[in-house]
Amino acid sequence: MNTTKTVDPVTVEVIRSYYRSTANQMSTALMRASFSPIIYEVRDFSLGVYNERAELIAEGKGLPVFMGTLTYTIRTVMDYVGKENVQEGDMLLCTYPYWTGAHSQDAVTILPIFENGEIIAYSAAKAHWMDLGAKDIYGTDTTDIFQEGLQLKAVKIMKAGKLDEELMDILRANTRLPDVLTGDLTAQISACELGARRLRDLSAKYGVEVVRAATNRILDHGEEIARKAITAMPDGEWTSEVAIDNDGIVDEPVVIRLKVTISGDQMHVDLTGTASQTKGPINCPFVSTMSSLRLAMKMMVAPHYDANEGFFRPLSVFAPEGTLLNPTKPAPVFIYGWSVMAVGEAMFAAMAKGAPNLSISRTGGDIGAVLWSGTDPATGEFFAGGGDEAVGNGASCDADGENALIHFTLGECRNIPVEILEERYPILTVAYGLRHDSAGAGRFRGGLGVTREWRILGDLSIISVVDQTRGGVEGVEGGLAAKPNRILIYPDSPEQRIEGKLTGFQLKAGEHIRVETAGGAGWGDPRQRDAAEVLADVRGGYVSRESAEADYKVVLTGDGAGLSVDQDATANLRKVAA
């Protein structure tokens, strides 16, 4: 991009700092004013400021996997409406999954910012509304998008600075939680307006031309950082395959096939060979396929920089239309998030071969989601809730994977403390800890998943969305697979059932349910792991003595404080195994 005006590097840095602060302030404004815990606690939102070509300039700290989705949304919405039909003070609203990249609950507001009658920039925000015109608040069994929520392609929620009360009335009539929706939408509007105000102030201070030149420089800088990192990778093609257990309706594996090509300073991802779009709602709109790959790419090439469009310029993605990762109307998409996790995993798996020093082995690949609802036996009140769990992180080429971390697509998402869970719901936590032996063995071991067992104190209805239960996915360079995810109903009893996805399952008071999440896969041959480290793992109870011998070929002797490595037996066993 040629810029007619040059701008000094100091001013560029000052303007960069201003943009970063603007995005942060927009996040704060949204979180402060929103009504839904999913926005202010789980950070299920994305927002930022964009230049006149809708390129991302700066993004607030929301859900990492929403990174960069709004560029596509802004462009499609503006093309659909026609720039000539948008005036200053108009704000557009979009809930159309194939444009926002998400289920219809994720609503996008777009505010074009004008200067002398021209659009000079945009501010935009996407946030998860608790309920919008769907048959239920969450769905794992929808078969088209019309069952999933109200479809709005591009409507003006604000016209010349005034809220459209009729549209507001339609929205309120299509939700079980009208006040919450009003609050969340208002918060989004005020976040976008704050962004617009800050950008207009910036132009007033430096002039549109200087700001444009500085912005171009900021994006070019991001591009240069990314291209340098990609150039440092060897050229070549690497492939991977990740299977999702099922689509929520048809119990057959759904396979993602990914090929990444590094050529000079360019990275291309081809998803040809991926399963066709499915009957159940696991389909992932192309925008989110793209953003999951952008996230994985950025985590590898520039983990310490704030994101902007420049970083993504060297990445191109192809996914054939009509497939899982580029579905067409009216394919259902409600639980697209599980495909998002899987495609991100596939990217790391392929890059583990291409740029091993930047990638990681497979993670547990899931969030162990269990939702419950019922009537409190003590108060007679209806309640509903749920929680996400951590998994083990994958090992890397020179370090073990971390134990018990939320999946990388979810960033800052937290668990619910046991004591708070018990305050809110008639559920008693019996045990909660790291899941022994769940990690994949390796020269560097994967992280451990978690196990959490509940005793139900009043009758409950359970929904579980747990994938990657089939397991057996190898690690890298001889690293072993971790134990897969699972849900156990009536654990350790003769009636024990092992499950993944459940809808409307009834549990009675006194019954138990246990979630066990997967560990991360290992990296490198476990026989090369230092025997002293294996001993430390056994002492800490991360690895069993049996696994030490079977997987790591390390023989231990003695017990308690006297536990030690039997050096001779270990040497023999490792020689034989080699």
Binding site: E13, L295, A302, L405, F408, G411, N415, P417, V418
Partner: protein, 685 residues
């Protein structure tokens, strides 16, 4: 300070680079300041050096010695606490390692949590279970506890932390465990979570207990040595240590809960700010402290600072009362650097005290903010620290030229001004972000500027942020130590309720508050605070049912009266609206009741300075060419000695007002007034 005084108090603030001392004569209001180098391996040496350097006649100090120390924080950051064990409910020993799942470094695929303070094999479980209502579901297995005690001995553990589920509702099991462990191992101290932080959330409470146990022996030893040193000097007064919430505590209280002194470092400046806001018309202040490595900001509104009940240090949550002080990496030592793709940055890395800025001649090789201040001539290289130290201006200029200007292809002065401009805009954006989080507008606040660099950036920041005034207090570079002189004793007592407001009566709430007030008052009484100087602030932490985050609601009215509960609900919604911008009108839960018991320490009277006329042309002792860094333009700045200024004086900008340890910059278009206490007030003309 060799003169005998009947009434003297002094304070010492141990910082990263310097240990600052302020000695105040309470009869005359005169004070004396000095600095000694901080001795990181044993901070006590720096303290003694400061006392000796200031020639404090310790024997004659019949009043207070107030001390803010980084001892606990350093021990935590450097992992120099003692070998600690953790005891918890069967099935839950991994809670301190699991933490809360979140990835603090969101884009780092190889993210690692901070290494566990208590390794897994030293985390023990005992069969027992208390329910959410505080009932005993499963009795404590005492044999298991005795078995754990044996293992603790075998592992040569030096401290034990105990955290059981719901123990804050019924501490019986935790207390029994403590008794048994002490019976079996009388020499190994035990901290129980219901004593340290009686609040819900097992990970946060347990971690607070762990850190308290881990640091206690270190802090106890340090206090012992401090008391010995003072006794050897026949110190007749009382020692008060600074807490993270800006209150003070006795050495005994500190030994019990050393965790409370963890973030006492930057608290002194805020205490000073609070005092200043009471003495002057500046009721709303943003305090800013520019040190060597960081820029610390706090907000004082209507004479009150925000106190949080939770904080995070090095990735670990800690449930202690702490002043809401935010920090970014921007200070005098912040490094200017160019990244791989040619963008210029300043900080967050710092050259620190060693090697420090290039101009300090301590081996620094990379340009810093202080180097730029020298190149732009804000700092007189030949008169630094009153001429004690001659700065290497040529070295600073050369480095900025070769490491910043040349790679970027810009003029050397543009580079030097640019370093300061970037540092300043990072500070300004940090202030705006923090104000936005609390729903405030910086334009409604004055800026209180201190630390070595506060007085140099203050005028620029108030221009940039359109704030009405920058206030440079007396002794700006040792203002934290100065602020400590105004401390009060404080105790926090808390009880978790977690009940719907509608399920409780006003009388019940009043009763519980009364018990907490009494507990706080008892603590102060034992410390010798007479009844007339004991007071209590009551706070209810309330949230809407179904939400997680509670807000703190001051309860200044009786809850027993007719409508007391309605008033509480209304007060809650008012606070909630301030924080979140809306209200729901729906049911609310009372999460915690908290009482802050305050033991007032009488405040010294500050000396008013001599009055003079507005005109200051008589004390303008010279001028210098200085490069304004926003305009990158050389201007003629008038030179003034701060010591020569009188109340009522007005210094027109552009001017530099110099004192031994810092320089106040008054920009062109600004003026600086001197108030009755000697504070400098910079405003736009």
């Amino acid at each position: 300070m060799t003169k005998q005084h009947s009434s003297v108090r002094f304070s010492i603030d141990t910082g990263g680079t310097f240990t600052d001392i302020v000695v105040l004569d309470e009869d005359t209001g005169e004070f004396y300041i000095d600095k000694a180098a901080t001795t990181p391996d044993n901070t006590l040496r720096g303290v003694i050096n400061a006392i000796d350097k200031a020639k404090v006649d310790v024997e004659a100090v019949n009043n207070f010695f107030i001390h803010g120390s980084t001892t606990a924080l350093n021990a935590m950051l450097e992992r120099k606490g003692v070998k600690t064990a953790y005891v918890t409910t069967l099935g839950f020993r991994d809670v301190p390692e699991i933490m809360r799942y979140n990835r603090t470094e969101m884009y780092n695929p190889r993210y690692r949590k901070p290494a566990a303070i208590v390794p897994r094999e030293l985390r023990f479980e005992v069969p027992e279970r208390v329910t959410v209502k505080g009932d005993i579901l499963e009795p404590l297995c005492e044999n298991s506890v005795r078995d754990v005690a044996r293992q603790i001995r075998q592992h040569e553990i030096k401290a034990v932390a105990v955290c059981l589920l719901h123990s804050f509702r019924n501490p019986a099991h935790e207390r029994r465990i403590k008794d048994i462990l002490l019976e079996e191992n009388p020499d190994i101290p035990v901290a129980i979570s219901s004593d340290v932080a009686a609040e819900h959330r097992e990970f946060e409470r347990g971690m607070t207990a762990i850190l308290n146990a881990y640091l206690a022996p270190v802090v106890e030893k340090w206090i012992g040595s401090l008391e010995e040193e003072l006794a050897a000097r026949k110190f007749p007064g009382e020692v008060v240590l600074t807490k993270s919430d800006g209150g003070g505590m006795t050495p005994d209280a500190t030994k019990n809960s050393p965790i409370n002194m963890l973030l006492s470092g930057p608290a002194g400046g805020v205490i000073g700010g609070l005092h200043l806001s009471q003495l002057t018309e500046h009721k709303n202040l943003i305090t800013m402290d520019v040190g060597g490595t960081s820029f610390d900001i706090a907000m004082i509104k209507n004479g009150r600072a925000t106190v949080n009940q939770e904080t995070e240090v090095n990735g670990y949550p800690i449930l202690i009362s702490n002043l809401d002080i935010r920090t970014i990496g921007a200070g005098g030592g912040s490094i200017a650097w160019i990244d791989d793709a040619g963008a210029m940055h300043v900080g967050p890395q710092s050259a620190g005290a060693v090697p420090g800025p290039i101009c300090y001649r301590r081996g620094g090789t990379v340009p810093t903010v202080t180097d730029a201040f020298v190149v732009n001539a804000f700092i007189d290289a030949d008169r630094f620290l009153g001429g004690e130290m001659s700065l290497d201006a040529a070295g600073a200029r050369k480095a900025i030229e070769s490491q910043v200007a040349e790679p970027l292809g810009i003029e050397p002065m543009a580079a030097s001004s640019g370093i300061l401009r970037i540092a300043m805009s990072n500070m300004a954006e940090a202030v705006k972000s923090i104000a936005a989080e609390t729903g405030e507008d910086p334009r409604d606040f004055g800026m209180l500027c201190f630390g070595g660099g506060g007085a140099m950036f203050g005028g620029y920041l108030v221009d940039e942020l359109e704030m009405p005034a920058a206030i440079i207090p007396v002794v700006p570079s040792t203002f934290s130590a100065f602020g400590m002189l105004m401390i009060d004793l404080r105790h926090d007592v808390v009880e978790t309720i977690s009940k719907k407001l509608s399920d409780m009566t006003g009388a019940e709430l009043e009763q519980r508050f009364a018990e907490l007030v009494e507990r706080g008052s008892d603590l102060l009484e034992r410390e010798g605070v007479p009844a007339e100087r004991r007071s209590a602030e009551r706070v209810a932490e309330i949230r809407y049912s179904g939400q997680e985050h509670a807000v703190s609601v001051p309860v200044t009215f009786s809850l027993e009266d007719e409508g007391g509960k309605d008033a509480l609900y209304a007060a809650f919604e008012n606070v909630y609206k301030d924080v979140y911008g809306y209200t729901l009108g729906s049911a609310a839960d009372v999460v915690n009741l908290r009482v802050k018991a305050v033991g007032e320490i009488p405040k010294p009277k500050l000396r008013e300075i001599e009055r003079g006329e507005p005109d200051t042309s008589g004390v303008r002792h010279g001028e210098r060419q200085v490069c304004d860094f926003l305009l990158n333009e050389w201007q003629t700045f008038g030179l003034y000695d701060r010591a020569a200024l009188k109340a009522g004086n007005i210094v027109p900008g552009p001017a530099l007002i110099e004192e031994r340890t810092t320089t106040t910059v008054v920009r062109n278009g600004q003026q600086c007034a001197v108030d009755h206490l000697g504070n400098l007030i910079i405003t736009r003309v």
